[in-house]
């Protein structure tokens, strides 16, 4: 096998590929060939590095130089300068926003300093389309160990002792789930991997599947052995073509290697995995809805119990875990439960992957130990708020999480603390909002999503969320009364209390948490007819200051609806009944005479 002196790792995640990542790979290979360095330099397409804000990313091994915002045109220079001449390409280095210094080694970047990568251990490190690299990183060793040296009960005990909890949102102890499914009698049992990542802006699971598909396959096989099942199903959304492609390659390779299929490791244990495609319904992330969808039925949940552990896919005992949960399993088996449980907090062990998004400098995918504070995540890892604006709120837990404020910044991130302050862990979405965001509009935005994604089975979710949205809409338009706020809160509570599945039981969270934490904004809309953040168009009024206005007529000429009148050299007036609040006049005024009230 060829041995290279240099590896060039190019991010092959969906985000970087969209920014011409494939061309970067091609150009780098071409440049390597042009310099006759093929026998020394290997160009590797890996999974996501997480620092998506700075993508496409190219990492030089062995000196760990981390190039950001790389374009295909930079490929020649990277090879000729960095590799031939040994000079770093400074303009492609990351610049520390605090010190303005170039940082070449990613380990010295604030973004990576506080991260611990367990689930993402192989993402951005190995070529996901090459099982050899996975095996070289102890791949399938955990499966081999479990099959050759342990009983299912012993393996389950390790998972139980590790304290791993479901990473899909619910936080149910994984080992316990396996144990329950193990104990249910059944000749046929199923292992299902929930890869129906539906939170807007979240891509934890996608990154794992794109960057390290084998870790999930290995964990599913381990799970199969533990529960006594030999059929694995991955329910993945069809909108993840790259993850699907990499999974298909991985499954083929694993079968060829004999770590999937019949008589694995000569132990007589058989396990194989099939893919099932989801059509992108958010509710199909709920395990009973997911199972119905896989069965070819309408994707809607059923009341639990019975839990899938007892009666799941085709009525058989079924263990459903999410991608990130599975990705943790092989390492836990290899390194032991003590190692894993030493990370995190008392009740939430290990790490959690979050997708950082919103008004934050370092948008991307991070993996941090449980118990880290929101402040560390947002300000240290995330690099603080964009454009020097003021932090207002952070929403965790996807569309049905709650909006937390400044006062929550120092709580440790774990399942129970987040729940206690009105939000939730969810699958790991984290959206940061700044002073320009209107919290009523934010709540409305999330409700818009849940209204769209409700399956329609139960009345509170089907109709209630729609009504929540309508009331919020009324508030943002300035048509609501204080009585409406009472109706809104009661309705939100009833939906939470009576809905059939997790979707409806959590969808009012954005409303309730913003009402709890930002009541003054609601009241400003309702009582004063004002949107403090200046976001609600219907509550804005463009006004001309008669003192500052010199009567240049520019605004009147630019107004598309002729809402501005006035004589030359006389102060102009905006007819607010005609004004469509496009803002063209304000942009045009040279005398700062037009303002929003």
């Amino acid at each position: 096998m060829a041995k290279y002196n240099n590896h060039i790792l190019v991010c092959g995640g969906t985000g970087c590929r969209a920014s011409r990542g494939e061309e970067i790979v091609a150009n780098l290979k071409q440049a390597v060939a042009d310099n006759s360095l093929e026998d020394q330099i290997q160009v590797v397409r890996t999974g996501c590095f997480g620092f998506c804000e700075k993508g496409p990313i190219v990492k030089m091994i062995p000196d760990n130089t981390f190039y950001v915002h790389v374009t295909p045109e930079d490929a020649g220079e990277i090879i000729s300068e960095h590799l031939v001449k040994g000079r770093k390409v400074n303009r492609l280095l990351y610049i520390d926003p605090e010190t303005s210094e170039h940082i070449s080694d990613s380990r010295h970047m604030e973004f990576y300093k506080k991260q611990i990568r367990i689930a993402l251990r192989n993402c951005g490190f190995i070529n996901p389309e090459n099982i050899d690299e996975y095996v070289a990183r102890d791949g399938y060793a955990a499966l081999g160990k479990v099959l050759s040296e342990m009983t299912p009960e012993e393996a389950i005990k390790i998972i139980k002792d590790s304290g791993l909890r479901g990473r899909g949102g619910g936080g149910f102890p994984t080992g316990l789930k396996w144990e329950i499914t193990n104990k249910v009698k059944g000749d046929v049992k199923y292992v299902v991997c929930n890869a129906d990542e539906g939170d807007p802006g979240a891509f934890m699971d996608r990154s794992i599947l794109e960057g390290d598909p084998h870790s999930v396959l290995e964990a599913m096989a381990i799970c199969g052995y533990c529960i006594g099942g030999s059929h694995g199903l991955i329910y993945i959304r069809a909108e993840y073509p790259l993850a699907i492609q990499r999974l298909k390659i991985a499954i083929d390779q694993a079968r060829s290697l004999g770590v999937l299929g019949k008589d694995i490791f000569g132990t007589g244990f058989s396990f194989d995995v099939e893919l099932r495609y989801g059509a992108g319904a958010f509710v199909c992330g709920e395990e009973t809805a997911l199972i119905h969808s896989m069965e070819g039925l309408r994707g809607e949940p059923t009341v639990k119990p019975p839990f899938p552990s007892v009666s799941g896919y085709k009525g058989k005992p079924t263990n459903v875990n999410n991608v990130e949960t599975f990705a943790n399993i092989p390492v836990i088996i290899n390194k032991g439960s003590d190692w894993f449980s030493s990370i995190g907090t008392e009740k939430s062990k290990g790490t959690k992957v979050f997708a950082l998004a919103g008004k934050i400098n370092n948008v991307g995918l991070i993996e941090v130990p449980m118990g880290i504070t929101l402040r560390e995540v947002i300000f240290d890892i995330g690099g603080g708020i964009k454009d020097g604006k003021k932090f207002k709120s952070v929403q965790t837990g996807g569309p049905s999480g709650g909006c937390l404020t400044e006062k929550h910044l120092d709580i440790p991130i774990d399942y129970d603390s987040l729940l206690a302050c009105g939000s939730m862990m969810g699958s790991g979405g984290m959206i940061v909002m700044d002073e320009d965001d209107c919290m009523v509009s934010v709540a409305k935005f999330y409700l818009d999503f849940t209204v769209e994604e409700s399956c329609g089975k139960c009345a509170p979710c089907r109709i209630g969320n729609k009504r929540l949205y309508e009331i919020l809409d009324k508030i943002t338009k300035g048509n609501a009364t204080e009585e409406d706020l009472g109706i809104l809160r009661n309705l939100a509570n009833v939906i939470k209390d009576t809905s059939l599945c997790g979707l409806g039981q959590t969808s009012p969270n954005p409303v309730l948490s913003t009402m709890d934490n930002f009541m003054h904004e609601y009241l400003a809309h309702v009582k004063d007819g004002k949107c403090p953040a200046g976001q609600c168009k219907d509550l804005m009024m463009y006004v001309i200051d008669p003192v500052a206005c010199v009567g240049c007529t520019l605004c009147a000429r630019v107004c598309p609806v002729d809402a501005i009148s006035g004589d030359k050299k006389q102060p102009h007036i905006i007819d607010t009944s005609i004004c469509i609040k496009c803002g063209a006049c304000m942009a045009k005024c040279k005398f700062n005479a037009i303002s929003i009230q």
Binding site: I61, P62, G86, V135, A136, G139, Y140, G258, V259
Partner: protein
């Protein structure tokens, strides 16, 4: 692809494959292993830095020394090319000049494996660890 039949098969396979990504593993925690930087500017390359580097990589690997060899730009010692910097964990980095293959072999045997400095350190005023200790 041959199927793995036992856990031992897998372990053997892994051993064979590990060198494939060991470079990446090493670069992940370079402070824990021997780091060697080879000056690879025009002057260095002209003086045989490339050959030295290839030798270092292969020989360290043969002797199973956990090390990472990287190229770097001109160190400014154009008179003594090829120059390399050797950094053994827990000690200060040392720069050697005029490192041909023979010298490289000596550095590996004596310095990296044996733990004692060898001749050829630049600048000439460099103090050996013993001298450091004496000062303290």
């Amino acid at each position: 692809m041959a199927k793995v039949k036992t856990l031992d098969d897998l372990k053997r396979m892994r051993e064979g494959l590990q060198s494939k990504i060991s470079l990446r593993e090493k670069s992940d925690h370079p402070e824990k292993i021997v780091q060697i930087k080879v000056s690879m500017a025009t002057c260095g390359i002209a003086s045989g830095a490339k050959e030295t580097m290839t030798y270092l990589i292969e020989e360290l690997d043969n002797r199973a020394v956990e090390a990472v060899v990287t190229q770097t730009g001109c160190m400014g010692y154009c008179h003594s090319e090829p120059t390399i910097e050797v950094h053994v964990p827990g000690t200060d980095p040392v720069v050697y000049g005029d490192v041909d293959i023979k010298k490289a072999e000596e550095i590996i045997t004596k310095h990296i494996i044996g733990g004692e400095l060898v001749d050829g350190i630049i600048p000439a005023a460099y103090k050996t660890p013993n001298e450091h200790r004496n000062e303290k």
